[in-house]
Amino acid sequence: MVTSKSRGHVVIDTEECKGCELCVEACPSSVLYSSDEFNTHGYHPAAYKGEGCTGCGICFYTCPEPGAMTVYKRWDLMTDTAECPRCGGEYKVFHTDEKPEVLVCTNCLKPIQEKVIPIR
């Protein structure tokens, strides 16, 4: 479970990240770093230190990959948590505007439901 009290929070999809490191350089709070791990494409994906994000969104607009970066503003005000079967743990959740009844996991951005539809 993410326990950070930071104002913002950033989730990086390691498989979509191409390791260009532009976000690492652009982050004004310097809370992003280039991971030592490889993803399946052989890139070192960017990673979040886990504390200190302000939710400014600069990394989101710097990143050229449409789905690699997700930024939560007002992270500290998001209090609802739930068990995500996909991520295997308890994470903060939110309701989308389009379907208010659906709970979405902040870690994988997928709806939390009993039957998980695998990604093709």
Binding site: E16, E21, L22, P64, Y72, K73
Partner: protein
């Protein structure tokens, strides 16, 4: 204010169109400028709620596969032609939001004419012009926007003014035209400039949505792979070097005084068209065509011969007469550059239903007026079709045994009538009689309206009767 910045709904969740196993990432290199601009556009489409009515024109270049990513309407067009296609789409669908997305090789080289004229007409489209000073997809060749002294694959010693001229400043050129409403050059360099580009993208799209205005946004972007720099260093280069030659800023903005452009289509009534072309509406006795009203007809006719044999006019007479019987008709000629001689053919479709395409690949009826035509088209005829050929000029019989064949010495009969050029009308008479396509009476009556040379009407009427007579004798 969005509290969550995530992948826009204007992108597909999974890029199903992308071949291969990886359907989550784009085809762009790490640090590419396209991805950021894609994001800005997609976010604006989401926020304005126009995704469902957006049509995105993918160019040729690295962004050729933009249709993999954008969950909008998509068209991918030939190199440089995006503004021309966008023009057509916007005019056909005035309610839609049309985005023409092009690179510098696409827009400033091969597509210069298209963008100039689309801009000059002030089409209600938004053009995004991504300028990275190089041909990216093909491996870093010199583009019209390559800077002086810049080394590329095709300018290994650096671009020189004497040899290749100056880099083209498209925004400044477009801004000199009267019709464009908003022209600005932005860059994806540092955070500040990217956020400014975001505002500009939104403004341009808003101007199209609200006022159907032509807007042109040039985006200076980095191509780390071809510049052989790290992503970070290449953005620095865009900021310091590229933006130095191509000054950023608004080049033209008349959005304040620009009034919404009315794109409603001009619809011309049939009667107006007839008046303009000075043609009288054909008057046909409805009793005479009554037997043909319920007839199911779907003929695809190929008529071929030498130029000058009246091949095309055979087709026009058939088409005109069919129209008088309320059939749907198409007529498509095909001929060489010679006025006389050479070969000519035309395709005629006659149907009770609306016709989608005028092309005839496999005719139900082939009319061959010379040997080469028979040789060329004989095997295209559908099984159970009909071949009519002029056996006074063609010295062989068709080899097909699964089609009906009529040999008619049309040229010889026409010669007996006094003019070999009437051979085509003999075939018209024969075809109408054989297939019972239409009323002979109506055809004979209307021939005067259809033929240009009125002194030949009588001869042609005789020819049609002789053709019909020939078939009657054949049937006996």
């Amino acid at each position: 204010m969005n509290t969550i910045l995530k992948k826009s709904d204007s992108f597909y969740d999974v890029y199903e169109r992308r071949p291969g196993a990886d359907k989550l990432t784009t085809t762009y290199c790490p640090g590419c400028g396209h991805g950021v601009l894609h994001k800005l556009i997609a976010e604006a489409l989401d926020d304005f709620g126009v995704r469902e009515k957006t049509i995105f024109i993918s160019p040729v270049g690295c962004s050729v596969f933009a249709y993999y990513y954008f969950h909008t309407g998509n068209v991918q067009v030939a190199h440089g032609r995006a503004p021309a296609v966008a023009t057509g789409i916007k005019r056909a669908h005035p309610h839609s939001v049309v985005i023409s997305y092009q690179g510098d090789g696409d827009l400033a080289a091969i597509g210069t004419a298209e963008i100039m004229h689309a801009a000059n007409r002030g089409e209600g489209i938004t053009v995004f012009f991504v300028n990275n000073a190089i041909y990216g997809m093909t491996g870093g060749q010199m583009a019209p926007t390559t800077l002086i002294g810049q080394k590329t694959m095709t300018s290994p010693r650096g671009r020189t003014v004497n040899n290749e001229g100056f880099p083209i400043c498209m925004s400044e050129i477009i801004a000199t035209l009267k019709a464009p409403v908003f022209v600005e050059r932005v860059m994806i360099g540092d955070t500040k400039s990217t956020m400014h580009a975001r505002q500009t993208v939104r403004k341009a799209l808003k101007l199209q949505i609200e006022k159907n205005a032509f807007t042109f946004i040039e985006v200076l972007a980095a191509c780390p792979s071809n510049m052989k720099m790290t992503p970070s260093r290449s953005r620095q280069w865009v900021k310091e070097v590229l933006a130095d030659y191509f000054p950023l800023g608004v080049k033209k903005d008349v959005s304040g005084e620009f009034e919404r452009k009315d794109l409603s289509r001009m619809v011309v009534k049939n009667s107006e068209l007839h008046d303009a072309l000075n043609i009288e509406t054909a008057k046909v006795d409805s009793e005479k065509i009554a037997p043909y009203r319920e007839k199911i007809i779907n003929e695809e006719i190929k008529i071929a011969g030498f130029g000058g044999q009246g091949v095309l006019s055979l087709g026009t007479v058939l088409s005109e007469m069919s129209m008088r019987h309320n059939y749907e008709v198409s007529w498509l000629p095909s001929y060489g550059p010679e006025m006389r001689g050479g070969t000519a053919n035309c395709s005629v479709k006659i149907s009770k239903k609306k016709i989608g395409s005028p092309l005839v690949a496999n005719p139900t009826i082939l009319i061959a007026m010379n040997r080469p035509s028979l040789d060329k088209f004989e095997h295209d005829v559908i099984s159970g079709g009909l071949i009519i050929y002029d056996d006074s000029l063609i010295d062989r019989k068709p080899t097909r045994d699964d089609v009906d064949v009529i040999a008619i010495p049309a040229t010889k009969i026409a010669d007996e009538l006094g003019n070999t050029k009437a051979a085509n009308m003999i075939i018209v008479g024969a075809l109408i009689e054989y297939k019972n396509l239409m009323s002979q009476e109506v055809v004979l009556e209307s021939l005067g309206d259809v033929l240009k040379r009125k002194n030949l009407v009588e001869l042609n009427q005789k020819a049609i009767l002789r053709g019909a007579e020939f078939i009657k004798n054949l049937k006996k």
